[in-house]
Symmetry: C2
Subunit: 111 residues, 2 copies
């Protein structure tokens, strides 16, 4: 996962309806029509959300007979989680270093 993709995939996860869709798809493959029956939005709205999720790799779609079934991709979410964890750790370590420097009497890093 490249760093520039972080805002995009986070934006895809930044919508409650899409989380509803992902939760359903996490339990098993479903078609867009089936999702539309389960959720209080139209099938076309579901379709747009699915396109967003597919573009960032959070769902995959497969034609099965007459309908197209979609499923949530856990690997992609895991990759995002690892990246966020790494960044969070960086913030904490840098903040600790700053606090150490502030409290230490000798403020020269070269020492």
């Amino acid at each position: 996962m490249t760093a520039s993709a972080l805002p995009v995939v986070c934006a895809a996860l930044g919508d409650a309806t899409r989380w509803e869709i992902l939760t359903r798809l996490g339990e098993g493959p479903m078609s867009a029509s089936a999702l539309a029956r389960a959720l209080p939005v139209s099938r076309q709205a579901i379709g747009k959300h699915l396109e967003v999720l597919r573009e960032v790799g959070l769902v995959e779609s497969e034609r099965r007979g007459r309908e197209v079934v979609h499923l949530a991709v856990g690997a992609r979410l895991g990759a995002l989680a690892r990246e966020l964890d790494r960044i969070g750790r960086d913030w904490e370590t840098r903040l600790l270093r700053i606090k150490e420097l502030a409290e230490r009497p000798g403020p020269d890093p070269a020492t």
Copy 2:
């Protein structure tokens, strides 16, 4: 981190400008005016972004003399990362179970 907060905090992370701000704040505390000087947006826009980030716990603010300095909170990001990782694993395990059931000749789960 409650599950209902996931879309909100992800939405906060779903903007490129906010990631710019977070990156700067991850290197050390800064004031809104300093951020506005470093980024190609106005101070008021920075202020709105900081409010969003503060509401979801990704930055903390502290009055230091005449100015207010902000810093990125790594712990919050780590909590989000753990939650996303957990959900991603759930998806993968359930999908594996479904595939197993589909390939196994005896489709009765009670057996």
